[in-house]
């Protein structure tokens, strides 16, 4: 894959919760973390994946007949995809008039991405908006992110990157002068817990945070609130103390756990890891918001 192209799994226009103003969010595939609550499972691997939208399926079964890899079979509940066989050639999706089969992920060059992003430039100008690179983890394809940020910079766009910054410090340092706001995902401070629920250590994440905060980078913290996983008293105190030490004036966006990803897992033929978990109650969310506000942070629910 050349350095100026990469897999984009969605470009969302009129995003109003991912940085200031009206924005376009570019969702890049690939992520080194594997969070149990991930709402965008299609973004983890740097490859395309066939999605099946059961509610759209007209039941014509032409896909099963057309698949060169014989990866599709028809059953009583619709189509079953054998992901070991599917090589994402796209023949079935092309022929599916109901759009029940779609390919998640499109290989695009930085120029192509920016052509799409530029369409809404007048909306950014009027609202102080711009482009937000999200994922997946944008730094997972550093060379591509570098091309995208350069292109965005050349067009004068306000740039946000939604990231865990689980990447080498040199990469973070190299791009940080061009990024207006890091929407910085911090799940929890306790490393053992972090490893348990995301699959990786948070050492690098916290070090990079220390580096960016120390260098005056624009940061908005984004913290998911996953009931019983990272919303305990100790978790919150540790997070509060960490931010108080490094960035006492930062804004914190609390992102309450939601189950919007469930349908997506089904479409991708994946098992949802947190089956029994319920979203946090309004009272619990308010309490946590107050907790951070009392420590002096501007705190919002949902960004």
């Amino acid at each position: 894959m050349p350095s100026d192209s990469g897999l984009i799994f969605e470009i969302e226009r009129f995003a109003t919760f991912d940085g200031p103003g009206i924005r376009t969010v570019v969702f890049m595939s690939s992520c080194p973390l594997c969070c149990a609550w991930c709402a965008n499972p299609e973004s983890r691997d740097p490859k395309r994946r066939l999605m099946y939208w059961k509610n759209r399926c007209a039941g014509c079964l032409r896909c099963a007949a057309s698949c060169p890899a014989e990866a599709l079979t028809a059953g009583s509940g619709g189509i079953t995809i054998d992901y070991r066989r599917c090589d994402c050639c796209g023949v079935c999706a092309e022929g599916c008039n109901a759009q029940a089969l779609t390919l998640a992920g499109e290989l695009m060059t930085a120029g192509e991405v920016m052509e799409r992003v530029s369409r809404d430039s007048v909306f950014y100008e009027q609202t102080g908006g711009g482009v937000t690179f999200s994922g997946g983890e944008p730094f997972a394809r550093f060379d591509f992110l570098f091309s995208l940020v350069t292109e965005a910079r050349n067009r004068g766009f306000h740039i946000c990157v939604e990231t865990t910054s689980c990447a080498p410090k040199e990469q973070i340092a190299r791009l940080s002068p061009f990024i207006n706001i890091f929407l910085y995902d911090i799940k929890c401070i306790d490393d053992a817990k972090h490893i348990k629920w995301t699959g990786v250590s948070n050492k690098l994440i916290l070090e990079n945070y220390r580096y960016l905060a120390g260098n005056g980078a624009g940061i908005t913290v984004r913290m998911p609130l996953i009931p019983s996983i990272n919303d305990g008293e100790d978790d919150l105190k540790q997070a509060r103390d960490f931010f108080l030490e490094l960035s006492p004036r930062t804004r914190i966006d609390l992102l309450p756990y939601h189950r919007l990803g469930v349908t997506k897992y089904e479409r991708l033929g994946l098992a949802y890891p947190l089956t029994g978990l319920e979203p946090p109650g309004a009272e619990s969310i308010r309490r946590i918001k107050t907790f951070f506000e009392e420590a002096g942070f501007t705190t919002t629910i949902g960004g």
Binding site: R13, F14, T16, D18, A58, N97, A98, R119, Q126, S134
Partner: protein
């Protein structure tokens, strides 16, 4: 509580004690209004018909002026409890008057159906029914509709029968769509209008033949304004009598005060804010008692009433709270004007709307910021009444303060769709292109829905002339020029969808049909225009349309300063989407033949294979509203083909004095998209036979998938500046998008960006929790419902039910 919060946002602080008094009065009147059952009132028809019978020897305009005066001298008067303004549309609350001189055939056919039709029902008591039938019998053969039907050429009647053109409303309900020169009546009073007409009358040299008609015209104007004065004086006496017997001291003072006001205005110039509001109401009301057309509009009330408000405020005679109360009383009055229409016309205008538009904001004729304290108070009063009338239009100009735009957002967030937002940036140059002077263009106001006109200077029919149905026209063009439903042949273009060998041939067929359609449209409009001119001339209205007194003629005869008319075009987006599907699927990709597609459309996508082809057409061919250049350009081309034909023809006033005398495009389709779709067969965009067409320039429902910015960009790519009659767009948003100040600021930016791109109008529907609940039970009707949650958005109907419930819960939380 909610309303108090809104008022604070305006930056205009009302005194809490006064404010606390206003809602109770307004809520009391409002509650009564909603309790009343809509009914039919025979009194206007009774007194008008009697006067018509008694004055048969008079020329029509004079006979009508006498009839108008007779109605005002005789109709029963009443005043609602708590109301601070006098004057009613009929003899009892929420009653519709009957206008037999326009049409009675429908009344004779439908009177017994009125209480039980599918929508817009009216109660009719036995005596009223019998009286109205008697009146209607006398009118048979003498009405406007009878004249139109007697003079319309056969081919025009044929094309009306196919539904490509619809002009029934014009024949049964008349013109409307006009805005009086309210400044003139405020400044001069009715006695001043009479004096002006008398002066012109006396100066006429009656040896000159052209002055014969002028004499009759001036005499008629004088009669009409005598009627106006008599009506107000009757109110003055009635209110004085009521005051005498009133027990409540406060109400007694109000009634006595109002009696005094009605004794002075509208006869004399208004001298206080209360007198000015009462004068506006009398003039606006009487124009709606005189003639039957709807969309009689208030114009720039925040401009012409401001001097009266300021003067009273400076003198300590009024407060902001009192002004809000009087304005709210005015809106409650305007809601009392109820139109009854034949069922055929009702389907195009569902919900008994009267489209009494109120325009706020913008710039002054001289080009300065026009937003003032009264602008904010108007918005406060609208938030207080939350009624379908008046139809509120907010002009936005870059010179207007952000506080004003923010205030508009606060009112929109309440969720009743108002105010609609209009762009000065596009409307002013568009009017100037049509010959309107810069000063007049700066002073535009909205009539009806979205159509900009110059207050007091435009003649009738700034909108709503003839509906042209593009989807039906395309269906006929693809079918060899004949309507599959009625078999009527409009014109054979030489090809059909089944025989065309290229997309260019399809476009040529479309052009051929468009050319013929516009010829017939214009022929029909001339017949109707001349019938209106001859049979229902309006002396009262003419007295307050600038130019008419000077020229001695009605607007219909060419008395107004400008004569610019429109008729809405419906289904433009359906036609463009269908043409794109044909171009893409049949000619570019060759997936299926034109003949096969024609067969599938005829079957209305019947059967499994045809059903799958429907999905192909619906999902795989590009659709308008997604920022896809080739589709958006096709939509613009489709509309330009219409414009090229339309601009060839002048209106019936050519050479009679007004500037313009031309008609231009407009996409204000009101609820006409539903009946217009009912007669169109399956279309190539994947639409089933009979489904509603798109509304205005909005996308076909559920097919705009790239969000609001993409939609706004598509709409802005239409040749908007040429659509001087207005380009209508409705958008839906979740309440959460407007719940916070940050959200409102983003919406403000969205509007500003749309206008920079060249947008014309946008109206927001804020989706309520009720809608979300309905979307769960009727997902098929809410396919396009997008819900947005932090960093993630989805089509509501594609979420699991528990997630939907979660979103409903959150939305309530957000509110």
């Amino acid at each position: 509580m909610e309303l108090w919060k809104i008022s604070k946002f305006s930056g205009f602080h009302l005194e809490p004690p006064l404010w606390a008094g206003a809602p109770s009065r307004i809520e009391a009147i409002r509650g009564k209004v909603f309790e009343a059952v809509q009914s039919v009132c025979p009194q206007r028809a009774r007194y008008l018909t009697k006067a018509y019978m008694e004055n048969q020897s008079d020329p029509m305009i004079k006979r009508r002026a006498k009839a108008f005066r007779s109605v005002l001298r005789n109709i029963d008067l009443f005043i609602e409890d708590h109301q601070l303004l006098a004057g009613n549309y009929a003899a009892r609350p929420r009653a519709a008057s009957i206008f037999p001189e326009y049409s009675v055939n429908w009344l004779l056919d439908e009177i017994d159906e009125l209480p039980r039709r599918q929508g817009d029902r009216f109660a009719v008591n036995r005596d009223d029914r019998d009286e109205l039938i008697g009146i209607a019998e006398w009118w048979k053969g003498k009405t406007l509709e009878d004249r139109c039907l007697a003079t319309l050429p056969e081919p025009v009647l044929d094309i009306y029968a196919t539904g490509v053109l619809a002009a029934g409303g014009n024949m049964t309900s008349g013109d409307g769509h006009i805005m009086l020169d309210f400044e003139a009546i405020l400044r001069e009073g009715a006695s001043g209008i009479i004096a002006g007409a008398s002066e012109k009358l006396e100066a006429l040299d009656l040896t000159q033949p052209e002055n014969h008609h002028k004499r009759i015209f001036y005499e008629s104007v004088i009669i009409a304004y005598q009627g106006m004065i008599a009506y107000a004086e009757r109110y003055s006496s009635m209110l004085a009598a009521l005051a005498e017997t009133e027990k409540d001291e406060r109400r007694r003072a109000e009634l006595a005060g109002l009696s005094g006001i009605c004794g002075r205005v509208p006869r004399l110039p208004a001298s206080t804010f209360h007198e000015a509001v009462q004068t506006v109401w009398f003039a606006h009301l009487l124009s709606q008692i005189e003639s039957n057309g709807h969309s009689m509009s208030f114009g720039r009330l925040d401009q012409y009433l401001y001097p009266y408000y300021k003067q009273d405020l400076d003198a300590g005679e009024i407060t902001g709270g009192k002004a809000v109360e009087l304005l709210a009383c005015l809106w409650l009055k305007s809601f009392g004007v109820i139109k009854i229409r034949p069922w055929s016309h009702t389907r195009f205008s569902g919900g008994s709307p009267t489209y009494q538009n109120l325009t706020l904001g913008g710039i002054t004729p001289g080009g300065g910021d026009a937003v003032n304290e009264l602008t904010y108070l108007c918005l406060d009063s609208i938030a207080l009444t939350r009624l379908p009338q008046p139809n509120v239009s907010a002009r936005y100009n870059e010179l207007n303060p952000d506080a004003y735009l923010k205030k508009c957002m606060d009112v929109i967030a309440i969720g009743f769709g108002m105010p609609a937002m209009h762009s000065d940036r596009m409307m002013i140059p568009s009017l100037m292109d049509r010959g309107v002077s810069a000063e007049d263009a700066n002073n535009y106001a909205i009539v009806g829905c979205i159509e900009p006109i110059v207050p007091g200077k435009f003649g009738y029919r700034a909108a709503g002339m003839t509906f042209t149905n593009f989807a039906k026209l395309l269906e006929i063009a693809l079918n060899g020029g004949a309507d599959p439903r009625t078999g009527i042949l409009i014109e054979d273009p030489g090809v059909s969808l089944g025989t065309a060998s290229s997309f260019e041939e399809i476009m040529t067929a479309f052009r051929t049909l468009m050319k013929r359609t516009i010829e017939l449209r214009v022929q029909g409009e001339h017949c109707i225009d001349f019938a209106l001119e001859e049979l229902v001339p309006d002396a009262f209205c003419a007295g307050l349309i600038s130019g008419c007194i000077a020229r001695g003629k009605t607007p219909k005869e060419g008395g107004s300063i400008y004569d610019l008319v429109t008729g809405p075009e419906t289904g433009i987006v359906n036609a463009a989407n269908s043409l794109e599907a044909i171009r893409d699927i049949v000619f570019d990709k060759g997936v299926l033949s034109g003949a096969r597609l024609a067969e599938i459309l005829r079957s209305n996508f019947d059967g499994k294979e045809a059903g799958n082809i429907r999905l192909l057409l619906l999902n795989k061919a590009g659709k308008f509203g997604n920022d896809i250049d080739r589709v958006d350009e096709l939509a613009a081309l489709v509309y330009r083909i219409f414009m090229e034909e339309q601009e060839k023809y002048p209106t019936a006033r050519r050479g009679q004095g007004p500037i313009g005398c031309l008609s231009y495009p407009c996409t204000a389709t009101i609820s006409g998209n539903v009946p217009s779709g009912a007669i169109v067969g399956a279309s190539a965009e994947g639409r089933f036979a009979g489904e509603p067409l798109t509304e205005g320039c909005s996308p076909y429902h559920g097919t705009d998938k790239n969000g609001p910015t993409a939609l706004l960009r598509s709409v802005a790519k239409m040749p908007t500046r040429l659509i001087t009659g207005g380009n209508l767009l409705n958008m839906k948003f979740a309440p959460s998008s407007m719940a916070s100040d940050e959200g409102k600021e983003k919406m403000m930016g969205l509007i500003k960006a749309f206008y920079k791109l060249g947008g014309w109008h946008v109206q927001f529907n804020i989706i309520s929790t009720d809608t979300l609940l309905r979307a769960q039970t009727h997902p098929e009707e809410h396919r396009d419902l997008v819900v947005r949650v932090a960093g993630y958005s989805a089509l509501f109907n594609e979420l699991e039910q528990s997630t939907q419930n979660d979103i409903i819960a959150r939305t309530e939380h957000a509110l």
